[in-house]
Symmetry: C2
Subunit: 350 residues, 2 copies
């Protein structure tokens, strides 16, 4: 790290730091222990409850094999699936399992599709650290987007460990994208997802572009796991502040290592922040101020902007990782997905 201390000394007076305040070799900043009250201003009671919940008790489950991860995923999936009938009803959508060119998908169709959305389609890539939310348990976010956004959504039930490892997830996403391209122009296709799904959204475009395919019309990448190398300042600043992911040494990054199965974690198809984003379509990014992946969301935003891409960032007060998608009935969820739907509306088909 090269530091121009003369420059610092000259400019230190521009704010409040005296030149003598700079150490010769910046050491880590020691931050004392603190107690964080539950924020309430501009936050709904339901979201306050999510924000105020204790640390995820499963945060330090460090699966070492695809089989171990899958055993946990199956238990969790069984519980998640029970919530789906009520979601289908209140969001006025239908879901149908299907196969597209060998890839398992769920086709989500809202009761009403407005005229301007009838020739559009969204591809959904679910989250879960590349190991969680198999089968129908992966579709809740797709239901929200279809129901609140009034789009047809194809949710990709991509292969996960132990069935398959890197690059199975991105390959399955591209396979579905190629199939949809036969029925709709690229500009009419949106791609979205959260967490690993937010990363896969970016990875799918990198992979499609490398294969000479046209890029989709617009993307919505929610709090993407854009850097699997534990790089990103909020891995430190929001450690044990984010009550969902909790730590860079937690379940999610460990699960990504299982998925990678020895592959270089800095490969842009696992850590898309390192990808060349020139030529990407308009992209909306979503995160929260307590999100362990706040840095890796804003780093993607800056990389997109530096590549000249139209990119929009929304950051929600107090929210930890992905909490905007935890309950479609909360105003914060309506707001976040409302912004995403508006963004797709403004850019798809253009």
């Amino acid at each position: 790290m090269t530091i121009n201390y003369r420059l610092l000394a000259t400019l230190a007076c521009a704010f409040l730091l005296p030149a003598t305040g700079f150490a010769a070799d910046p050491s880590p900043l020691d931050v004392p222990a603190k107690a964080l009250p539950v924020p309430t201003a501009d936050i709904s009671p339901g979201m306050q409850a999510f924000i105020g919940a204790p640390l995820n008790p499963n945060w330090n489950k460090l699966w070492k094999t695809g089989e171990e991860a899958r055993a946990f995923a199956d238990v969790q999936a069984a519980a998640t699936v029970k919530t789906i009938p009520a979601m289908l009803e209140r969001l006025n959508v239908k879901s149908e399992a299907s196969i597209i060119d060998g890839v398992r998908v769920h086709i989500i169709t809202p009761t009403e599709i407005p005229a301007e959305n009838k020739d559009k389609v969204l591809i959904h890539l679910h989250g879960g650290c590349y190991v969680l939310f198999p089968g129908e348990s992966g579709i809740p976010e797709a239901l929200i987007m279809a129901g609140d956004g009034h789009y047809k959504v194809i949710s990709v039930d991509y292969r996960m460990p132990p069935e398959a490892y890197f690059p199975a997830a991105v390959d399955d996403a591209v396979t579905v994208y190629k199939a949809v391209l036969k029925e709709a122009p690229a500009k009419n296709i949106g791609v979205f997802g959260t967490s690993a799904g937010g990363a896969l959204t970016l990875e799918m475009v990198l992979r499609a572009r490398d294969q000479g395919l046209p890029v989709p019309g617009a993307l919505a990448s929610g709090t993407p796991m854009s850097d699997a190398t534990k790089t990103g300042d909020s891995f430190y600043t929001n450690e044990k502040v984010d009550n969902i992911l909790v730590s860079r040494d937690g379940f999610c990054d460990a699960a990504t290592v299982v998925y990678a199965k020895g592959h270089d974690l800095k490969d842009p198809l696992i850590s898309p922040v390192y990808g060349d984003m020139h030529g990407f379509p308009p992209t909306i990014l979503t995160t929260g101020t307590r999100d362990l992946l706040l840095s890796n969301t804003v780093r993607v935003h800056r990389n997109l902007r530096r590549a000249g891409v139209e990119a929009t960032l929304q950051v929600y007060e107090g929210q930890s990782h992905a909490q905007y998608e935890f309950d479609d009935r909360l105003p914060e969820s309506k707001e976040a997905f409302g912004e995403i739907a508006s963004f797709f509306g403004a850019h798809l088909g253009k």
Copy 2:
């Protein structure tokens, strides 16, 4: 705070939290002490040095009177003013002190103004907690904007304690705005500033609108001191993480109390996050992931969006309060002000 625990229990399985993980009454989250390394990914060496600097040694100077604050401000101003000749030279701008309807200003003119900017003008409101950066020491950000953005800028040297107290700063801003309105249509006028200047940018529009004036064409509000009531989650999460403001119990909020001189701190003319933002012009907001005012920047962004305003947010990796404006030569400064200039270019005159 009303919390629907049945709802939480139903939905907890949507991610990794078991229903039993929710406490009956959310208590503060205990975050252990930690050591933050200086982030380096995607950050220039010069900015790494700012980010890696120790805590501002003046963070807990708690001035109780305007006179005390001004004594500090004068010493700091003398040092800051020394940096200005070099800035004028490298940014190719001229600065001239003047008076507009009784208000002290500096008129900053770049050597070259492109044709599309010749009928535009920017009003600059400097930062400094309503007490710092009197006179010429308040103009560095205006020089950057004029030089890199190629706009004529009028920087308002608004009255500060002990010369005057609330609402002198916003009154002086409105006085200058009214005068400029006689020479340019509102849509050709942009307003910008950082910190207290970011708040004043919003306060000026609230005040102008209340007086029946048209709103400016666009705003750039940098890490606004939008809430002087110590409300906002990052006042806690980024406490002693932000190395500039450091704490909600630091110099800046204390100085704001001096400026308010007993006036209600929740008045939108001191805490503009509480203002009604319907009808605001397009606004770009800037902050950093370590900024003590991260929450109060994103809260303004959400309030603008909820009011239907076109609003854009840029968040810089690792940066504490206002560090994007500390050195105009750093790539992060060029990037942030480049985004702001592009935003003005896209919206002024429309």
